[in-house]
């Protein structure tokens, strides 16, 4: 899991996932 500093009370987490032969960095923004 990758995380970034909480800004504007918003949390941002991500994980890099292999999708078939490509790589997606799926990033989710959620309220704190």
């Amino acid at each position: 899991l990758a995380t970034s500093s909480i800004k504007h009370n918003t949390l941002c987490v991500a994980s890099i996932v292999r999708y078939k032969r490509k790589y997606v960095t799926q990033i989710l923004y959620a309220p704190l």
């Binding site: 899991l1 990758a2 970034s4 949390l11 987490v13 994980s15 292999r18 999708y19 078939k20 799926q26």
Partner: protein, 169 residues
């Protein structure tokens, strides 16, 4: 080859600097008070997991309390590895025509020491189980296509845990 006689162009008066100069020259009173949006491309700075400078056992205690508050369960840690928590977390969604969808997410939470007084809590997705103990259908497609994995449920649960830790601390 260069496209012959192309008349594609960028409209000069549409460039922000020129538009602004034209508007200010027209003497509009409010124009001077409107500043352009500074699209600061603040590059998101990423970290692995979450960092902590607290005492290791305190960190572990905070995590167990947060997990308990969130209704998650965990395997009893082994004596030799106090710094790893094997979590099982029920994430139930209204499923269509009661198909057997795994609803127990497994996550491994591990504390690492980066340097003196600097620790890292790492979260790792560790597969699914279903609460009715029905064995999961074996993956029927080739390994290569296996990777149709949605990270969003994992990302969602970790945000809830991080929020709980942030709020508690």
């Amino acid at each position: 080859a260069k496209e012959e006689n192309s008349t594609v162009a960028i409209l000069p008066t549409s460039l922000p600097q020129i538009h602004r100069a034209n508007l200010l020259a027209s003497g509009l009173p409010t124009a001077a008070s409107i500043s352009p949006l500074v699209n600061k491309k603040s590059k998101t700075k990423w970290h692995f997991g979450i960092r902590s400078r607290s005492y290791p056992l305190d960190v572990m205690g905070e995590i167990y309390i947060a997990l308990k508050n969130l209704g998650a369960e965990w395997a009893k840690p082994s004596e030799e590895d106090l710094w790893t928590i094997r979590v099982r977390w029920k994430y139930d969604v209204s499923q269509k025509n009661n198909e057997v969808v795994p609803d127990l997410m497994k996550i491994v939470i591990q504390l690492f020491q980066i340097e003196t007084n600097n620790y890292l809590v790492d979260f790792k997705f560790d597969g699914w189980e279903n609460s009715r103990g029905i064995p999961l259908p074996l993956s029927k497609i080739t390994d290569d296509e296996m990777c149709t994995f949605s990270a969003y449920p994992f990302l969602h649960l970790t945000t809830r845990l991080i929020m709980e830790l942030a709020v508690n601390s």
